[in-house]
Each structure stands twice: as C-alpha cells, then as structure tokens.
C-alpha cells in the first residue's frame, strides 16, 4: 500500500501543520498513525490517549475537519486521496500539538451543576426507580456520556458564544433533572437558563451527529428549554 500523507498540527494556537509519511497497515486507526509519528518520526509530538479501545475518550481530535475519537476511526474511512489532516479539538485552548486544555469544558459541567445532590445517607435503603418510568428512560438516553469533548468541539454555538455551557454539560444537567433522587432541581434549572445556557442552542444537531456514544445532547437540551420555561412561568425559578 502507498504511504499515507499525514498533516499534523504542531505548536499552540499559532502553530502550523507539519507533514509526515506513514506506512499504511490493515485496520489502521488514526490513533495508530499519530502513535507511529511520535515513535518513529518525531518524539516531541504531544497527544493524549489511554485505553485505545473507545472507553476513555481521551484521544478525541479533529480528523479532516471532523471531531472524532481517533482510536475508533479507521484510516480507510476518513483518508481522502490517501491524505489525513489531524488537528486538536476545536473550541478549546491548545496546550501543545494535539493536546487541548479541557479545564473550561469541565468547569462548565460544574457551572451547570453537574454534580448529584441527594438527601439520604449511605445507611439508607436503595432508592427504587422503575426502569420503565418516564424519568428513568430520559436518564438512560443521556447517561452514557464519558466527557470526551467531541460534542463541545463540534458545536458552533460554543464557537460563537464563549460562555455557552455546551452540549455535554447540559446533557449532564438533563440527566440530573430527571433523577428522581436529586434535590437541586430548581438550582440546576436556574444554572442552565438563559443566554449562556440551554436557550442559546440553535438545534444544529452537530453534537448529536458527532457523539461517538450515539447520544443526543440536542434532545436533552430541548427538554431543558421546556423545563426551564415551565419553571420560570410557574415561579419555581
């Protein structure tokens, strides 16, 4: 097979792409390509990965302009004319090469009150939540998020509005709003309301299109919009 022509982002925000040639292999992933470059071509290349099998979400990058997990992206599926361009995730500050600073991404989870608040102690009996209940089904639809940042990178609203909490944080808030054990519903609805919250979403569905877990943050955000409006009209928040 012909060698793959790879362009990889080097430096910080004001860096540039550097070109490498990487031998093609069967079932080769984009993460394999980045690893080859770091081990065989330039050991100063910085990138993140851990599990290599789509569990941890740490290897998310922008491949040919699309945010993806590189470990679950086969070169065969994304190479155009035997070329691949690999850049860091969008909408996050670049620390170096393919490594982004994800602080603001996780800070926004905190701003959206992404932490469960219960009323019982560890001595209490387990809460009984029917898997068939409406709330539990809504939680199920969004709970598998592992915080990889692909949706945040794919979201245009984050690009336009730096304060926007983003799909992942809002999806997390939606799962907690529907958690019948949670005690901070009103505070959470207040935290996700307004211009930096759920109402800034334009329903472009980029997050839903790109989520590697197949979740739909857009659906959760739509639910938040309705819940916040209802809470505002009723005086709950």
């Amino acid at each position: 097979m012909e060698n793959l022509q790879v362009r990889i982002w080097r430096g910080k925000e004001n860096g540039d792409f550097q070109e490498f040639e990487v031998p093609r292999q069967e079932s080769q992933t984009v993460l394999d390509v980045v690893t080859y470059v770091q081990r065989k071509c330039d050991p100063t290349l910085s990138y993140r990965f851990a599990c290599r099998v789509g569990v941890c979400g740490s290897c998310a990058m922008t491949v040919n302009g699309v945010s993806r997990w590189t470990c679950r992206t086969h070169v065969d599926k994304v190479a155009e004319d035997n070329k691949v361009e690999i850049a860091p995730l969008r909408n996050l500050p670049v620390i170096k090469d393919l490594v982004t600073d994800m602080s603001e991404f996780f800070d926004k989870w905190a701003k959206a009150r992404g932490r469960f608040a219960g009323s019982t102690t560890r001595k209490a009996e387990f809460a009984q939540v029917s898997p068939e209940s409406k709330e539990r089904k809504r939680v199920d639809a969004g709970i598998e998020c592992i915080g990889c940042g692909v949706c945040y990178s794919a979201c245009d609203v984050v690009t336009w509005n730096k304060d926007y909490l983003g799909p992942a944080a809002l999806n997390r808030a939606w799962t907690l709003i529907n958690d019948v054990r949670d005690t901070e519903r009103a505070e959470r609805l207040a935290a996700v309301a307004g211009d930096a919250g759920c109402h800034a979403c334009h329903t472009h569905l980029n997050c839903t299109e790109r989520c590697p877990k197949g979740l739909s943050p857009t659906a959760g955000i739509a639910g938040l919009k309705r819940a916040v409006l209802a809470a505002t009209l009723s005086g709950e928040i």
């Binding site: 609203v157 336009w160 509005n161 207040a190 309301a193 307004g194 211009d195 109402h199 800034a200 919009k225 916040v228 409006l229 505002t232 009209l233 928040i237």
Partner: protein, 116 residues
Amino acid sequence: MSRRSEVLLWGAQRISAMLLAVCVIVHLVTMIYAVRSGLSGAEILGRTQGNVGWLMFYAVFVAAVSIHAPIGLRTILAETLNWRGQSANVFSAVVGLSLAMWGLRAVMAVFGGGQV
C-alpha cells in the same frame, strides 16, 4: 438582561414562530390562489378592505414578525458581531417597533384603503 427575561424572550420567540409558520403558509397560499386567476392589486384590495377577518389575520402576522425578528436579530448580533448588552437590546427593540409600525400601517391600508 435578567435570566427570567432571557427565558421569557425565548418563549416569546417560540410562540411567535408557531404563529408565523401558520401565517406564512396562509399568506402564500392566498397570494398564489389570488393571482392565479389574474386578479389585479386593486381587485384584491377591493376584497380585503372592510374585511375584519383579514384585518385580524394580518394584525397577528405583523405582531408575530415584530416579536420574532428582533429577538432573533439580537442573537445574531451577539453571535456574529459580538455586539451584546444594552445597546444591542435597544437597537433590536427599535427594529421590532419599526416593523410593528410599518406593518400595521400596511395592514390598515389593506383594511381601510388609502396609500400604502
């Protein structure tokens, strides 16, 4: 702008969008139907003038436009030009009031006659 106001603006834009969806369809279908048989502007006005139904319909249409457009414009200004805050709010409100004024003037002409 307060959180409550932001949420209520979003609600107003949603409701006005629902009204607009109906109004635009009725307006377009009526226009296409009216001109198909070769009605002139004067003949159309002859049918609308004095008709309270059309007066109400177009008054609602103009109200929905005057609510929907400035709220959307305010977001566009914020996201594309990074123009936020009181000045952007006032500008959007002025656009909304202008749309309402010109729109209602046109509605009155369609209902009552005279120069549009």
